[in-house]
Symmetry: C2
Subunit: 203 residues, 2 copies
DNA sequence: ACCTGAACACCGTTCAAGT
DNA sequence: ACCTGAACACCGTTCAAGT
């Protein structure tokens, strides 16, 4: 990954015009199809919708994960930007809370795309895991320095807990408020100094 | 489901001998194959390993979930029994903690079988979701009555949080202690009275 | 009453052949 | 340099035909 975490090779205009057009068509078709059928949608179907042969899809995106990453890239960039904004405008604790809830909504809103991508082994192309971790580290370390988040929790921990909530609360739940409630519970623990109530005597 | 949560129709010896034998062979093959290749393993492959035609598999287990449930049934029964044991032998808080860690280990140990089953919509056959919930309610309500678990959390909440941790911490993690650490964090929150540190003055 | 296994429509992936 | 699309091995699922 590049030092600043942006999309590495910057798919500049150095390619043939038809190649660029096909890439764009494939991305649009993938966005549509993943949204409708989830992260396991048929790749042949995506190629078909893009008006392109299967081989062309594989040439542009050698693996299903590569295609999924590309589809998510801009949404993840937005999450990163939001973390920066919150750092500038909200209190440390508010920023942490708000950003994690936004991330949860994001992970729940894409039929499991983010979840499946963050669960699987990393993709060397666009490393969306790293980008999200930087955003999480941004808001978390600020809260830790302010003393409103316990120091023994990592950005990765928070991401995994949140993704876990997103994955385990399917959209068919009787209680639509459950995901946010569970995240709030987790955040309670993050705010609490570890071992506070286990050792009432500090001596 | 039956009132006591046992496997409902009790697949008694009322069937033809070859049918029973095939059922057993299919279950064994499924156990093997799911363990090796995860919950999405090929059903044809399972039938092949059982030395049986695909149609026979479908006759015994009309859906993939039905087969998965049958494979897990006895392991889930053991988890229920363990909850009963803990209730009799350990303190309320210890019982809750120990059982949830056991459940987490179980959910992490089967290549995601439990996770995929608890995430998907319920199966009317053997309802493993209900069985697990009863076990969780067993240990949770006892802790709540003893005052060591906050009352605004439900057995379903705990199950979802734990399954979420199991799903989001793949086995390829750099930190093998992470799952148990995250569960301990969650249990901290469950023990803490809600809003304790938000309102330092009880008046 | 249960089992068999061929058959169908589909999938992921590759690769010669084209331009 | 890139695209096409036929081809291969496989999958889930069904269903006539058997015993």
């Amino acid at each position: 990954m590049t030092a600043d975490g942006r999309t590495p090779p910057a798919p500049g205009p150095r390619k043939r015009a038809d190649a660029r057009r096909n890439r764009e068509r494939l991305l649009a078709a993938a966005r549509e199809t993943f949204a409708e059928e989830g992260p396991d949608a048929s790749l042949n179907e995506i190629a078909r919708r893009a008006g392109v042969g299967p081989g062309t899809l594989y040439r542009h995106f050698p693996t299903r994960q590569a295609l999924q990453s590309a589809v998510l890239a801009d949404r993840i960039a937005r999450l990163r930007a939001q973390a920066d904004d919150l750092t500038a405008t909200a209190s440390p604790h508010e920023a942490l809370t708000t950003w994690l809830h936004a991330f949860l909504a994001h992970a729940r809103g894409d039929h499991g795309l983010t979840g499946s991508l963050l669960t699987a082994p990393l993709d060397p192309g666009f490393d969306c895991h790293a980008a999200i971790r930087e955003a999480a580290e941004n808001v978390l370390s600020r809260a830790q320095h302010a003393g409103t988040a316990r120091p023994d929790v990592s950005a990765d921990d928070l991401i995994r807990l949140t993704v876990g909530i997103a994955l385990s609360t399917g959209q068919g739940d009787a209680d639509p408020a459950r995901p946010d409630r569970l995240l709030a519970l987790v955040l309670d623990a993050v705010r609490t100094p570890p071992g506070l109530k286990h050792t009432p005597d500090p001596t």
